[in-house]
Subunit: 428 residues, 2 copies
């Protein structure tokens, strides 16, 4: 049996502790599968004395991640601290410059610095892998980069923030308003310290930008992701959507159109009977569409100690087996600069707005839609509030530009109160 | 860019032609992803003059697959002829002995000779890969062997014969009897020349045996798969199951129990709301359960030119990238001999039988069940035929042994006509 693959692990939260447990408990299995033993040389975390439910005494301790990352006795630097910049980025850079392979779960860092880090890895003959950064335990980066390497990808989609999917499905099943379920999720510890990362779609947007890069061979371009959170979704939206056979999901979509790369992370309506529509609670799902394979759907836990550690170990085992693959599937220099395209692919949209209860109001609304070239498939006034009526419109297929023109027109109408909620009905 | 990876392709049916098309049309993409060009040196098929919708004139032609497999100008032998023995096996053996890597879609060959071929590959420093043999376009072998390499697998399950799933879902949606839908599938060309391969569960059983080997590090043991086809499923079964919130699927399950490895391919009841229950038509689904990742579900096309060629190309691209992994995930010598275990994990069962319409019949039936230790959860007589009544029983959790004892007891009863149909209700 060949020489061991030696890990240095920075960050000993649940995922880091999970990785340590796997390496300790599955020595023979890992060695048999990898062809060499997998060992840990050194670890690093903020608090040396904290009890993490796992013995660390036989590993060297480093207070500074950069010092860990460049130790002579590690082959792979496993970065599990998180944060787009700061110690995570500094230590990953140091590791790559020292020719160490890197495994990370850090979506924010890669969404912001992916291109630079991929180039750095390549320049130093190192491998940089990040399966755990996207969709938790689902081996989706591997499926895209390797399993579907014979495909030109058409579209990738994903429900990749378990907290948002929990909130949306819980609103539906319990009939509770957003604010109440948000608070519930907060109490349960499901939300990030800055909840905007979850409910604003930022965390899921990071993941989408990484998926898009791997799928289309483009440079990671998180800034171009059209981001929209779930904060404005009401129980009414969920009920009305359900009534028409849809579910509302925070859905990421990346697709290449004639105008360039579309990337959007936004609440969408999807058919209730589709795999995406049926996805409940914290589970993640990714849909991969290629010219050869048609459609492959992957479903699994998006977070948690075991699933995330499983993804980290998948990357570690590939390195142990000697697999060397470019960070985003092709050499960093081959990744094309994207032409970011504002959503151009037409779709039907769901519109909810509050219309003042006076004569001629509906006529004004209808003519704004007509002027923008948006035609109505269904319309319903589903209740009657004091002085105003909630109106729901489903449009025929239209472009986002036409829809935005209509919404701008509505903003100018005195009879439309507040900004309308517009949700795309995605064909899945 | 390094030297090209040169393929020799034997078998130019839809899948073979699909692989040729991908290599011809995606030269730049494949080279960029693999780090070297992927080319075709030579091909072989039964009929040289047949029009396959793809130009072959620039490739050398070999009439004999063995001659193709050992040519000096090929690096990878792609076997797409099929058949457990004969030219497929002879040529794969020849290729491996010549140190060529092999990619195959041949489930029957691997189910019968997997251990020998894996050993042969290893002895000659060659790689033998078979992603296309299991679940078509779904990269499930890769997910198990590599992505989930940090897991001890608990159970793998799959709906892996699209024809059977088509028949069962079509019976349900159209309310048609088995024989009629079978004939329809035959007319549509969905059935193998020997339809028993499909409806008898043999084809899906081959796939399960391969999955089990990869999941549990055991030698492929197709002979130990408990096989049961869908031939006895009636429209009554489907309707009654639906009425109780279930769907009937030809489901493969492999799990390690205290007694050994259980492998069964049989029609089962699964909850209608589960991903497996929701699977319609020819689509395949595989459920992977590991101690770390919990549950990952993969869904995609199980057959067809593009999806199968996609899986073949995934293997080819891994070889082009220099990935060397053991055929079944660990060295052939490390694969353990299984202790085949007859299904021991207890489950509730669905029983349908025809009971003679005379006094005391039900009492006799109930006492046979009681004597075997099988207790009844629900029972219903759902119709009244001439002289007999169809009876449906759902048992509480019981072992297959106890159930078989009860069925043997029923065989001896003069009031039970024909052999009862017994379907496992699988927890998914």
């Amino acid at each position: 049996m060949s020489t061991p693959l030696r890990l240095g692990i920075a960050g000993l939260g649940t995922v880091g502790a999970g990785v340590v447990k796997i390496v300790r408990q599955k020595g023979n299995l890992l060695a048999d599968r990898a062809g060499c033993p997998v060992t840990i040389s050194a670890v690093s975390a903020r608090d040396k004395d904290k009890d993490r439910g796992v013995t660390l005494s036989q590993y060297a301790w480093e207070d500074a991640p950069v010092a860990l990352a460049t130790r002579d006795d590690i082959d792979v630097y496993v970065e599990l601290m998180g944060g787009a910049d700061g110690p995570a980025k500094a230590s990953v850079e140091a590791a790559l410059k020292a020719g160490k392979d890197v495994v990370t779960a850090n979506k924010a860092m890669l969404a912001h610095h992916g291109q630079m880090l991929a180039q750095l890895a390549e320049d130093h003959g190192a491998v940089l892998r990040f399966e755990a950064a996207v969709a938790g335990g689902i081996p989706v980066i591997k499926a895209l980069t390797e399993g579907l390497a014979g495909n030109d990808m058409d579209r990738v989609m994903g429900v990749m923030n378990g907290t948002c999917n929990y909130i949306l499905t819980r609103m539906q099943s319990a009939g509770l308003p957003y604010a109440e379920v948000f608070e519930e999720a907060n109490q349960l510890g499901y939300l990030e310290a800055d909840p905007t990362l979850d409910v604003g779609g930022i965390d899921a947007g990071h993941k989408l930008a990484l998926l898009a890069s791997v799928a289309f061979g483009t440079q990671v371009d998180f800034a171009a992701v059209e981001l929209e959170g779930i904060e404005r979704i009401t129980i009414d939206d969920i009920t009305q959507a359900a009534d028409m056979g849809y579910r509302i999901k925070l859905l990421g979509v990346a697709q290449m159109s004639g105008r360039g790369l579309e990337q959007r992370m936004s609440p969408c309506l999807v058919p209730a009977t589709s795999p995406l529509g049926q996805l409940e609670g914290g589970t993640n799902m990714v849909v991969l569409e290629g010219d050869q394979v048609e459609q492959v759907v992957l479903r699994g836990p998006g977070a948690g100690e075991g699933p995330t550690a499983s993804a980290v170990m998948g990357d570690v085992m590939d390195i142990a087996r000697g697999f060397r693959v470019s960070t985003f599937g092709v050499p960093a220099g081959s990744l094309s600069e994207t032409t970011p395209a504002k959503t151009a692919t037409p779709a039907p949209y769901y519109l909810r707005l509050s219309l003042e209860d006076k004569p001629g109001a509906l006529a004004k609304l209808a003519s704004v839609l007509g002027d923008a070239g948006v035609s109505i498939d269904r319309m319903r006034q589903y209740r009657h509030d004091a002085g105003a009526a909630p109106i729901l419109i489903v449009t025929h297929k239209t472009t986002r530009d036409a829809l935005d023109a209509a919404i701008t027109g509505m903003d100018r109408l005195d009879v439309v109160k507040d900004a309308p909620v517009a949700l795309r009905i995605e064909t899945v």
